[in-house]
Symmetry: C3
Subunit: 260 residues, 3 copies
């Protein structure tokens, strides 16, 4: 059996000592733990970004990995800290909805409220539960602690609403839900809305001139619509940034208009 995998997803950046402190706490409890950085570049306090990130990345991981998520604007308030089993994945995360996109239509298999201070750091600060709660609980879990020991089952939790596209006879109205590092606009419009039928794509009121299969089909600077690698409609600029070119952010309207 290989050593336990623990992934880390935060909005701490790496210039500050927060991520390093978490790594130290986990390794001090279990020096065999194998730490995998997923990202520390979630925009500060951006739960929606974290939710999309996790829903996109975690399904590729093996089920035994434990995913520690600390994007936690409510730290130190009465928001709960959770252990969650959902969609075959295991997470530790604050109760702010960052994991609920993973659930999709199926309910989580298990949600536990972290309530046993013996698995926390001796002193728990009011501002850094990543180091004082989530990291030590991850360390204990990696040593074989049964999740049932962490606290009582939770029967409710914060759920992040995911914007659903609105359909009309000749169009589908959605929005940008994520902008990736290339400036590509990932939308909430499903791929099949674009495939197998002639469609025009608009970001706000600007039409995207071409629908393509991959970036290389357009020339440098061309704006194109295509199916993203996560099965959604994406708008991109070939060798450029659609977000910068169109000056849009998450939430911007994207419309598909089917042609007769």
């Amino acid at each position: 059996m290989s050593d336990p995998l623990i992934t880390l997803t935060t909005d701490f950046g790496t210039a500050s000592p927060y991520v390093a402190a978490m790594k130290g706490v986990i390794l001090a409890l279990n020096s065999r733990a194998r730490l995998i950085d997923l990202t520390h570049d979630v925009p500060p306090q951006d739960i929606r970004h974290a939710a999309f990130f996790l829903a996109s990345a975690l399904p590729t991981f093996p089920p035994e990995a434990l995913h520690v998520v600390v994007v936690d604007p409510g730290v130190g308030t009465d928001r709960a800290a959770l252990y969650v089993e959902v969609a075959g994945r295991k997470l530790l995360a604050p109760d702010n909805g960052c994991w609920t996109l993973l659930a999709d239509e199926q309910p989580p298999a298990r949600v536990i409220r972290l309530a046993e201070p013996r698995f926390f750091r001796a002193q728990v600060s009011a501002t850094f539960h990543g180091r004082d709660v989530f990291a030590p609980v991850a360390g204990h879990l990696s040593l074989g602690v049964d999740p049932g020991e962490l606290g009582p089952p939770a029967d409710r939790w914060v759920s992040l609403p995911f914007p659903r596209p609105r359909a009309a006879a000749d169009r589908l109205c959605g929005e940008v839900v994520f902008i990736d590092g290339f400036g590509n606009l990932i939308t909430n419009l499903p791929a099949d809305a674009l495939l197998g039928r002639r469609a025009r794509v608009f970001v706000r009121s600007e039409e995207i001139p071409r629908v393509v299969r991959t970036y290389g089909e357009g020339g440098p600077g061309d704006l194109v619509a295509l199916v993203s690698s996560w099965g959604r409609v994406e708008v991109a600029q070939v060798m450029g940034s659609a977000a910068a070119e169109l000056q849009v952010g998450p939430g911007a309207a994207v419309t598909l208009e089917w042609q007769k």
Copy 2:
């Protein structure tokens, strides 16, 4: 016994090949070494930032970890390269004070000047001791080389002065020592100056309106003072950046005024 842990802290960024080259050198010597990135985002040549980072993060690590630190504006000059045991931690670092905040009041248990070229790379450049000195020495240490073989004991080293707050009858005058990735201002004022007594907090001449226990007690945009997760007074903007709001950097004056 688990495989040896080696952490890396640099100001190299990751767009350049410097960090990767160090990783390769260590793994070529000991492919069982387990590399842990602490940060490569120390601002260029900022020894003070590195010192605060290390003093905050390293105490959480298990004692067996070896911490390699390369923030090294004096590379290639006659500044020494050191192996240090301090506060129960082991480091390799240039002799520029980046580790001395860890010592606090107790002296380091051991300081050795790296002087044995047989533990270096065959050719040592004048500009990249991370790859040519620190990484290979780390590799050799992880294979079991005794630190005493690395060179002679050092009896003096550069010590970084840490600014101490100045006390008066009704006030304590300190300063910002670190700005984290959220724009929170970490000061050199101890937590107990803020706890259990009524105090007003000023950054330069601007009063911080509220003293709170955690960020969630303020509304978005509020400036608050609180106890940081490292036991010091911190000034933050809820869901924002106090550094940007107040336009201050490290060294800015922070004053506590106790009320009668």
Copy 3:
């Protein structure tokens, strides 16, 4: 024998879920794989940057490491995906020249075109071969699949032209090939052009006032020329950024003029 080493080099940044998704795919196939981040900060689609990065970093690694490179503007087009053995290193990379600087004068020992979908993800998207082709092939290789099973040998591939300096009787004309995280300008001029003879160094038409051995020989703000840690002429600003000071980017002319 230690667990297999797989390094990752991309232009994805880490705020997007792309790198994390690749890590999950590899670990789901082989949970013993040891993942090493080299960089995810190659500028978007910058094959030349990736080429210089790899040529500088990979020679330090042990030969058994597998290097996965995904800087891939041609994803989804008919550009090939390759397994390469070159200069004693093993890579998986798109066929866009990103690895050919490693070859220097010697030809690669082996180049194979990835052509066996049984080693790919079940569904291969048109836009993300990092997750769907390169990561799963890396996982299979780390489990012991013979590279010969991946596809047929390739007998041609894209080669990146490396700009060679032009020599005249009294001068050598080169250019900036890479700018590191400190703003240092790495050129294509070999070190021996600077050593052992008196030379004047110009960036465009501006003379660099001093030739030194290491940064510490100049005062803060001084522009200096020196031998870089990779054996090429480098232009730096002590405690500053030569790229910002001189406002130059890759491709800028650098000239050495020997003195009589």
